[in-house]
Amino acid sequence: MKIVYFAWVREQIGCDAETAPDGVSTVAEMLVMLRARGGGHAAALADESRLRFALDQLMVKSDAKLGHAQELAIFPPVTGG
């Protein structure tokens, strides 16, 4: 699975996409795994209330199961319009 980042999440982590670790079942579990990398990951992903998620381009909550999704997106609340 691929993980993509946008806006300040992308800037703090320092890349716009990376390969997800295996053996993770939910979005929330993925956050725990990614934070453990420390540095920009830990800083950007520290506060879940400031993050939003999409699985295969559909918005989901952090308890969503990853299932067979190809792409997880992690980003701040949207500010378009």
């Binding site: 806006a7 381009q57 949207v78 378009g80 319009g81």
Partner: protein, 153 residues
């Protein structure tokens, strides 16, 4: 008729209105969002010179199309157009167009408000403000926008 687009170039609002009028509607309504120079309410002393619009390319057009389809079903529209610009936009430039055509004005006007309220909380765009002093800051999402979008449940 549904049209949903993401583009860097300016959009032709007149052409969009003409296209909607051509759907046989009795009413066409539109909303255009403009880059504001007074920008972030958290920094009233900092003038915004430009916005940088970032998107999630794989998701944006589908999200805008989904919004237009939902509005069409909910307000019995004969047409809906949503166009959102990305890239660097100077103060005073148009960012977004939401327009709707319906048999009567109430549905056209309500559909426009619905489209822009839902777009602001559901479409994957992010704005970075560039200030006159050279600093830059990502725009924070507003609770008032969440409340307006939730009001359409």
């Amino acid at each position: 008729m549904i049209e949903a687009r993401v583009q860097t170039a300016r959009f032709d609002a007149g052409a969009a209105m003409d296209a909607l009028a051509g759907t046989g509607a009795g009413a066409v309504a539109s909303f255009i969002g403009i880059v504001r120079a007074d920008g972030d309410i958290a920094y009233p002393d900092r003038r915004v010179t430009a916005l940088e619009l970032e998107q999630y390319p794989a998701m944006t057009e589908a999200a805008l199309r989904g919004l237009a389809q939902t509005a069409t079903a909910r307000f019995a529209l004969s047409g809906a157009i949503v166009i959102h610009r990305i890239g660097r936009l100077e103060a005073g430039e148009p960012i977004v167009l939401a327009a709707a055509a319906a048999p009567h004005r109430a549905h056209a006007l309500d559909a426009c408000a619905f489209l822009i309220d839902r777009l602001k909380t559901g479409a994957p765009f992010w704005k970075k403000q560039h200030f006159a002093d050279g600093s830059a800051k990502w725009v924070e999402a507003k609770d008032s926008d969440e409340a307006r979008a939730a009001g359409w449940q």
